[in-house]
Symmetry: C2
Subunit: 358 residues, 2 copies
């Protein structure tokens, strides 16, 4: 993450991972989730917090989920149904539950099918937020599979290249492959220049946004460095046509098709609700797993050892920094903004819970 | 394609599609290909020329292929073998043949597997150039499937974000989905800011390159508009970190993994030869095909009807311009640079063929 999105020293409170996990778990249970679902949902948020993906950890997301349970928008005990199934595919209706604990179950179905047939893919409807796509893609790794996770968004925020009306969500995807000695390759990105959550984070931290990240309400790209505007649209990866925004727009559209049209929701900008797509490839359906992992080690080591350009200390590969951060944060604790910890105190009282952040 | 890459009026020679197809077909047959393989290879090039994808039509590619046959680098009559196979997957060794006629056969295997099981994926090694990924992804469309095609490149040309050494090829991919009344959605792009071929085209046409497209030999992005430099590296989609190049770099790396590591070639920058990955999704394994196509029509119409930003006439979706161009060029002929037609005259004499371009 760019430096400007990090919590400043003065506002930082350090909490050890098991304590934050317990608190988060307790909140999900208080919302009515089963023990298993609460643990799964907490695991998604802690995965992100441990790996430094603040935008999808407890800070930005949990209070929002709590409101949605409290106002009845999310079901704690959903009825999950399978609406279509073949040897390698399935479509799952999550019954109005939070995506955090539905997506892993859908990925597990994809993994089970890939274990039998080589490939497996599952579409999901009837769900809330996925909590970041990375966790769900990474679920394939221990099974010696490549994992892919995508989510269309509930609300169009991205203008297509040359467009003045939003037509796509931030439509994120993650793609993960195991290695041997090296940390897994894992890319987890939105198809807009900046994530929705990162915009809120930038607003909270008083950080500016770069030229080519946002568009004015008439669709023209904002090509200056500015404070987060009151109103704006998102631009696709690349920002402008010259910098490849037609490619970012196209990739965002692919995710919309896989998550919304293929799942039966209809186009994202009409459906106004998220859909997911999960895909698993069994590696030894193509190559011996040991050979693949050796090749991945060579590949990732080669990327990480690339001579850096002037002004840069090193080259990293997707997933490398996050794996390093996980080691550090597991040992030293996770830094949260003071405001987040204040919210935990409030909700602790409100729900009659008992957190230990010492 | 940006205006600057189009052939100027003065240098333009118009040839009708069937005549250029016959000539191209005759050249492939003269190289020793079977009638079926020659027709398939010519079909790939004419698909690109008809759709306005000059970079992957006869202009840029055919003379190169001919040299490779003539110096023995490409086999006209390869022995094709299947090195691994499961219900849904296969790995094919193309026996040193040109990818243009091997990739469609690999896609057909993926399609056959998807017809039976819902999904199908095939890796390909032992091949030359694919001739653009679009043709191969589109091959899934008449089967009511979604098609994906990727190729790693033989030679590293792209520097990773912050890197000073090339580690990835232009690693292109295509992704195609059918619609009902609307032209299919089809994105066909490289994961660098500019294709290798487009650089040669820019050099030939005297066109300039944009800031953020290329890097100097020390890895620093060239942030001015310049003539095509003597020496440079490619930058990933996005160009700079601030404009999302880490996403473009990550997507390029995914393609390397799927085409090179998963196929058994080893990392692209060590293997120094291309690999392919083809994937087919049977739509009715998820949703009734008619419902999907209706949803796609709504989606694509919505994109195409987006109100344009100031200075732009309209918004287009991936594949739309190319489909429009195909109608025009089928009726009016294909514009070629005079230099290309001169090459056809030379090769016509050299091979003792007889072309009719009147």
């Amino acid at each position: 993450m760019l430096e400007r999105f990090k919590v400043s020293d003065a506002d930082r409170v350090i909490v050890m991972e098991p304590q934050m996990r317990n608190a988060t778990n307790a909140i999900f249970k208080a919302m009515g989730l089963t023990d298993e679902d609460a643990a799964l949902a907490a695991d998604v948020l802690m995965f992100n917090d441990l790996r430094g993906v603040e935008t999808h950890g407890v800070s930005n997301m949990l209070r929002n989920y709590v409101s949605l349970y409290q106002n009845g928008s999310l079901k704690a005990r959903p009825e999950i149904t399978t609406t279509r199934e073949t040897e390698t595919t399935a479509v799952i209706d999550g019954g109005g539950a939070l995506g955090l604990h539905i997506a892993p179950r859908a990925m597990d179905i994809a993994i089970e099918k890939a274990a039998k047939y080589g490939l497996g893919a599952v579409c999901v409807t009837g769900v809330g937020h996925m909590g970041g796509t990375g966790y769900h893609a990474m679920r394939a790794i221990p099974h010696d599979m490549i994992g892919v996770a995508m989510s269309s968004s509930g609300r169009p925020v991205m203008v297509p290249t040359f467009g003045a009306e939003p037509r796509l969500g931030t439509n994120p995807f993650a793609w993960a492959a195991p290695a041997g000695e090296m940390a897994p390759f894992m890319i987890d990105v939105g198809t807009t220049q900046i994530a929705n959550n990162k915009l809120s984070l930038a607003r909270r931290l008083g950080a500016q946004v770069e030229p080519g990240w946002l568009a004015r309400m008439d669709g023209s790209p904002i090509m200056e460095r500015v404070d987060v505007p009151e109103q704006s649209y998102m631009l696709p990866i690349g920002g402008t046509r010259e910098q490849g925004s037609h490619k970012g727009y196209g990739i965002g559209a692919i995710i919309d098709i896989m998550c919304s049209s293929l799942s039966g929701l209809g186009p994202g900008f009409l459906a106004f609700e998220p859909g997911f797509h999960l895909l698993a490839y069994r590696i030894d359906a193509f190559i011996d797993t040991a050979d693949f992992k050796a090749s991945m080690d060579e590949f990732l080591r080669g990327l990480a050892n690339t001579k850096p350009a002037p002004g840069h200390k090193r080259v990293i590969y997707p997933g490398q920094l996050e794996a390093e951060e996980e080691v550090i944060r597991t040992a030293d604790g996770i830094p949260y903004h003071r405001e987040v910890i204040d919210w935990f105190s409030t909700i602790e009282t409100e729900l009659g819970l008992n957190f230990d952040f010492t």
